[in-house]
């Protein structure tokens, strides 16, 4: 193998990252659309009717990916915020800010779709069980992060304050994940565990393809948003005039 290495640090600088992200956005957009089309087709036209829940189970194809994205994106946001704080890396902090909105949206989708599934499955839209309560707290953590950052005028101070909140709130993620094991909950257990997968293959594939679609969507919108944040924060930088022209 050649000893040519990619210099990853290069892309920690907004000046190098900005054009790279711009080139990547169209690809992620195309992949997102393709995966949504295929995933929804498999979910609605290939996956069979569930013998227990009838058709109502089809909410799972969007509910589970949205709930996972809410948690994944929170962890990602906290890691970026932490890196931005610890190493004084401003692009990492900007990434955390860019992720927060999308994470909040997915968490909200998981709450609404879960509620719409709860009504036919359990007879109620909402109960204060551990899984649902901890997911609601996740939503509040996102809202807290976003409003805290927008209430501080100095961007780097806002980054630091957000990082503290995001890192403290990280404790909530394992609580959400293990809530169905630790407490007696109305919410069903994990859909996918290392040992078993209690679903027909086409159901599993619909869910996994839509999860991939949500990932690609998140990457695309976060890249678009982080470019806007770079533009807003570094508009006086000379490199920007060259790239943006």
């Amino acid at each position: 193998m050649s000893n040519r290495r990619i210099n990853w640090y290069k892309y920690a600088a907004p000046a190098n990252f900005y054009p790279l992200a711009g080139k990547m956005i169209p690809w992620f957009t195309v992949i997102t659309i393709a995966l949504f089309v295929v995933g929804l087709y498999v979910g609605f036209f290939v996956a069979p009717t569930d013998f227990q829940q009838g058709e109502s189970y089809r909410i799972i194809f969007i509910h589970v990916p949205a709930a996972w994205m809410g948690m994944f994106l929170y962890v990602l946001m906290a890691v970026y915020a932490g890196v931005g704080w610890a190493f004084n890396a401003r692009l990492a902090s900007m990434m955390a800010t860019a992720i927060s909105t999308t994470g909040a949206i997915f968490t909200f989708i998981s709450l609404v779709t879960g509620s719409l599934w709860g009504r036919p499955a359990w007879g109620v839209y909402w109960v204060w069980d551990a899984r649902m309560t901890s997911t609601l707290i996740l939503m509040f953590l996102y809202i807290g992060f976003i409003s805290l950052q927008s209430s501080i005028d100095d961007p780097r101070r806002a980054d630091r304050a957000g990082a503290v909140l995001a890192l403290v709130g990280l404790i909530n993620v394992p609580i959400i994940y293990f809530s169905v094991q630790w407490w007696n909950t109305l919410h069903q257990g994990a859909t996918i565990t290392a040992r078993s997968f209690k679903m027909a293959p086409s159901m599993k594939w619909a869910m996994l393809i839509l999860l991939a679609a949500c990932w690609m969507y998140s990457i695309a919108v976060v890249l678009v948003r982080v470019r806007f944040i770079i533009l807003e924060r570094e508009r006086e930088a000379p490199w920007l005039a060259e790239v943006a022209a």
Binding site: F45, G54, T101, I105, L116, P120
Partner: protein, 65 residues
């Protein structure tokens, strides 16, 4: 394919409200996020253009003086 008609597809075995409600909310929120980003892009473009104009005006002013 297990739907014999479109009306059967839309009724979803009586769960149409919950299923289409779920997918509808998802579509509105993700679509709304994309729209907000497009709006922000337009706003950013406009403010950048304003700044450029201001800069050239200032430059002209300086040379005139």
């Amino acid at each position: 394919m297990h739907w014999s008609s479109w009306s059967e597809f839309f009724s979803m075995g009586g769960y149409g409200f919950y299923i289409w409600g779920s997918y509808g909310v998802t579509l509105i929120l993700l679509g709304g996020e994309v729209l907000m980003l497009l709006k922000r892009k337009r706003r950013l473009g406009r403010s950048t253009a304003d700044r450029e104009q201001l800069k050239t005006q200032n430059a002209k002013l300086e040379t005139a003086l």
